[in-house]
């Protein structure tokens, strides 16, 4: 059977705007947090393996590139948490009006950056002894 040219899904010519930006960021931070989950398990396993093994594992966590990853994880945590709560309100049928959705979107973006930075600094200070 001959295939005729079919209309394509319109995602290619949708205008890029805040809605899909926040949505794809939720996915990206979710995937990053899934990677962070493996770091969490590594940390727990290291703690269970004894003081010597723990020290060498945590020493690696303190290196600059890993610190950058930890900052990304802290931001991802805050973003996914805030935007996740926003989505739970959407699921309950609230906050769909354009003005409300834009406001909550901005709150999530700014809040995640600010809280992510605070969280990273607090963790750095709190974990300071070992890192």
């Amino acid at each position: 059977m001959a295939q005729r040219a079919r209309p394509l899904s319109p995602f290619l010519h949708y205008r890029w705007q805040y809605t899909n930006t926040l949505s794809i960021l939720h996915r990206i931070t979710g995937v990053l947090l899934s990677c962070g989950f493996f770091v969490l398990v590594y940390w727990l396993a290291a703690a269970a393996a004894g003081a010597a093994r723990y020290q060498s594992a945590v020493g690696m966590l303190g290196s600059p590139p890993v610190q950058l990853i930890l900052f990304g994880t802290a931001f991802s945590f805050c973003y996914h948490l805030l935007n996740g709560v926003r989505h739970l309100f959407f699921d309950l049928g609230h906050g769909f009006e354009t003005r409300t959705a834009r406001k909550s979107g901005w709150a999530v973006a700014v809040g995640a950056l600010a809280l992510g930075l605070v969280l990273w600094l607090v963790l750095r200070a709190g974990l300071g002894g070992a890192l």
Binding site: R27, G30, V31, L33, S34, F37, F38, L40, V41, L44, A45, A47, A48, A49, G50, A51, Y54, Q55, V58, F77, L81, G84, V85, L88, D91, L119, V122, L123, G126, L127, G128, G129, A130, L131
Partner: protein, 128 residues
């Protein structure tokens, strides 16, 4: 006239046989993770340095170890559901998709078991 059987209509599960359970469990684990995530961050921040002694002391308390086990299991489940949707959306090839889903799910379950066992070893004082 409906082509759906009376049983299908009653159970409301549709052709995928799962109904909205995937969607729903994702939300339930999300609500749980809001609480567990906030607890975990607060606990980490107030640990007073992540030395081995501090971490082991913290996880040795019954409440901390119970919440840590819940965090590991819930986070793994939530990640599994979320990564499944991502893979189903972006991996078009059915064979590759199947392999990717299996690898991701096996990895998460194995990691969850390792995490839970680590917490239990510390909680029961087995850890060195």
């Amino acid at each position: 006239m409906s082509l759906r059987s009376p049983l299908r209509r009653v159970t409301g599960l549709g052709s995928a046989k799962g109904g909205a359970s995937h969607w729903y469990i994702q939300r339930v684990t999300a609500v749980a993770l809001v609480l567990l995530g906030l607890w975990f961050v607060a606990a980490l921040a107030s640990l007073g340095g992540a030395s081995h002694a501090n971490v082991v002391n913290w996880l040795a308390s019954p409440i901390s170890s119970a919440l840590a086990v819940l965090l590991v299991v819930t986070a793994a489940y939530h990640a599994l559901l979320g990564l499944q949707v991502v893979l189903e959306d972006y991996v078009a090839d059915h064979g590759k998709r199947l392999v990717a889903l299996l690898v991701v799910k096996f990895a998460l379950v194995v990691a969850a078991v390792i995490g839970v066992l680590a917490v239990l070893r510390i909680a029961f004082g087995v850890a060195a």
